[in-house]
């Protein structure tokens, strides 16, 4: 870093000036379009966002911020990939040649800009930093985030869609084709016993957590501190019970629950869930208690606390 600061100010390549000016002009043009045509609602918000991003990019590029350059680089790389995919997956397969030519031209422009943004002259202006590693990282993260989070986006958007919108086969499933509605939520709250179910979940969850803490905290503490060699063996035993699959247990447990007369009540859940959570919590808490230095407790006990007091 020090050498970069001490080095004589590198001249800004002319191409960069032109590029940032172009992006700035494009931002202004888009802003004028949005305002003059009174684009309202979501499209308006999106185009204003685009104006903001473009403006920031132009400014950052002018000021030689590496972040802006990498982001711009990333966008152009995405564009090249998108064009390639569209060209081979759609335009050429369906013999849509005008579209194919347009895609090739767009790809050529983006590829030139990609090449320009990582060329030696620009690199020098940005203290010799290579944009590729960050860009690849961003690509990877984008792909994975979209794939992993997509079902949740899907669930949220489907919640607020009208039924006709969901069942229309020609509707684009990624957006609202008809205005969003609260009908589905109304149905859930007014015509089903959703609130009861919610309360059940909360009650079971609360009691299970209480039981688990009551059983697991003392046990974990005892195993981590007090019983030496035996403690270690017991700890391993408890860890192994965590591995016993619920599948193996649910058949006999269903009989146990039936014998106790608890079937079809939430108390059966309260009884059964801790058998999964207790071993896990003991195992988790054991590691935690082990990481508290023993000396701290010893000091407390010398000062007159009992072992139980030290634990609390």
């Amino acid at each position: 870093m020090a050498t970069a600061a001490l080095a004589p100010r590198v001249k800004k390549p002319a191409g960069l000036k032109v590029l940032s000016a172009l992006i700035g002009l494009a931002a202004l043009w888009l802003l004028a379009q949005t305002l003059l045509h009174h684009v309202g609602g979501l499209p308006g918000v999106f185009s204003l966002l685009a104006v903001l991003v473009m403006g920031l990019l132009a400014f950052g590029l002018w000021k030689l911020h590496n972040g802006s350059r990498v982001f711009l680089f990333f966008l152009f790389v995405c564009d090249v990939i998108g064009c390639l995919l569209a060209l081979f997956l759609y335009a050429l397969r369906t013999s849509h040649y005008r579209l194919a030519v347009a895609l090739v031209i767009q790809m050529a422009i983006s590829a030139t800009l990609v090449w320009f943004l990582q060329s030696a002259a620009v690199k020098r202006a940005f203290a010799g930093r290579n944009p590729w590693p960050t860009t690849v990282k961003m690509l990877v993260l984008t792909v994975f985030t979209v794939l992993l989070a997509f079902p949740f986006y899907w669930m949220v958007i489907a919640t607020f869609k009208q039924n006709i919108d969901l069942y229309g086969m020609d509707n684009n499933p990624f957006i609202f084709n008809l205005p969003p509605t609260l009908d589905n939520l109304r149905l859930l709250f007014n015509q089903t016993r959703f609130l009861t179910w919610l309360a059940n979940t909360a009650i079971v969850g609360g009691i299970v957590v209480a039981i688990t803490l009551l059983l697991a905290v003392p046990a974990a503490y005892a195993l981590a501190r007090l019983t030496g060699r035996w403690g270690e063996r017991l700890g391993i035993g408890i860890f192994l019970t965590y591995l016993v699959p619920p599948t193996l247990l649910f058949i006999p447990l269903s009989r146990v629950v039936a014998t106790l007369g608890l079937q079809d009540t939430i108390w059966s859940l309260v009884l059964v869930y801790p058998s999964i959570t207790v071993p896990f919590s003991i195992w988790l808490l054991m590691g935690f208690f082990k990481s508290i230095p023993r000396e701290l407790e010893d000091a407390a006990m010398v000062d007159g606390l009992t072992r139980f007091g030290a634990f609390i």
Binding site: L148, P173, A222, I238, F239, T241, V244, I251, P252
Partner: protein, 310 residues
């Protein structure tokens, strides 16, 4: 100081065993009653003729003993063979995909950058959300008529609108779908474990390697991955347990269909043992999970000892 130490010792010796005993007995009792007893009961059921509605006469429990009859009958059923095969295929395939993806993701997420919190939150969602919720979402996404994937493929002109692929109704596609849903759920979990493992690598080693001229690939494969082997082992073993014993995904997505092509051991045990009232057959099927889990437990202990998680 010496006096204090002596006092401490006497206090510790006098109180510790009793108090320690009192502290972990409740938990151990609970575990024995609700894991140990059902475990033994499951094994007894596997050798008995227990049915729902025909209660076992405990005073003469030996009369219900039928030897290996249950095992003979399930081994002959094609559903069971397909379930055993699928359980293994799902587990192995999901683990391979998950390990590759989680490694890539953990490398990308290692260094801090702006917006990492948001990206992490989005990536962790599949693991944080309940299994059943995520699976129901997928069931809708993989629907035969209203599937988003089909819509995209139709839009691109790959698929005829009037004969869409049945994601969950064709053998090969159904198997792939189940594996992918398992991967979707496990990638976040493994990524978090691997991130922890990565942050534990002493910074000096990759730096020294970089000075010696090692590039990205060499640092990854010859330095970082070997150091992370124990933690990779932990991730694989946990993932194996989660996939191998998972009931929710298969039960909600395909319920074993079409024609048992996605049947797994837990789902078969559930459908036969609880829904089909044949407790004995269900127990016998689930007992087949035990050898695999014993093997995993053994490996886990060895690996865990090295990774110091127990």
């Amino acid at each position: 100081m010496a006096v204090a130490a002596a006092k401490l010792k006497s206090v510790g010796a006098a109180r510790s065993p009793l108090l320690g005993f009192a502290m972990f007995t409740p938990a151990v009792l609970y575990i024995l009653l609700l894991i140990g007893a059902p475990f033994c009961l499951a094994i007894f059921y596997a050798f008995s003729d227990a049915r729902i509605g025909a209660p076992i006469d405990w005073a003469h429990f030996w009369r219900h003993f039928v030897g290996l009859e249950n095992f003979r009958s399930i081994l002959q059923s094609p559903s069971f063979r397909s379930a055993l095969k699928n359980s293994i295929i799902f587990t192995v395939a999901a683990q391979i995909i998950v390990m590759v993806c989680a490694n890539i993701l953990s490398i990308a997420l290692e260094k801090p950058f702006r917006g990492r919190g948001l990206v992490r939150f989005l990536i962790l969602l599949p693991w944080v959300a309940p299994v059943s919720l995520g699976t129901i979402g997928w069931k809708w996404i993989l629907d035969s008529i209203y599937s988003v994937i089909t819509w995209v493929l139709v839009w691109l002109g790959f698929v005829n609108k009037f004969s869409p692929p049945m994601w969950l109704g064709q053998e090969g596609l159904a198997i792939t779908s189940v594996i992918l849903v398992h991967c979707w759920r496990l990638i976040p979990f493994s990524t978090v474990i691997l991130l922890a493992g990565r942050s534990a690598i002493p910074k000096e080693i990759p730096e020294a390697a970089a000075i010696d001229g090692a590039g990205f690939w060499r640092t990854t494969f010859q330095i970082n991955l070997p150091i992370m082997t124990p933690i990779l082992g932990v991730a694989v073993l946990f993932g194996t347990i989660f996939t191998f014993t998972d009931l929710a995904v298969v039960n909600l997505l395909t319920n074993g269909g079409p024609y048992d092509s996605t049947q797994t051991l837990p789902n078969l045990a559930f459908t036969q043992g609880i829904q089909g009232s044949d407790l004995a057959a269900g127990a016998a099927i689930s007992v087949f999970l035990v050898p695999v889990l014993v093997a995993i437990a053994y490996l886990m202990l060895r690996v865990a000892h090295r990774a110091e998680v127990v």
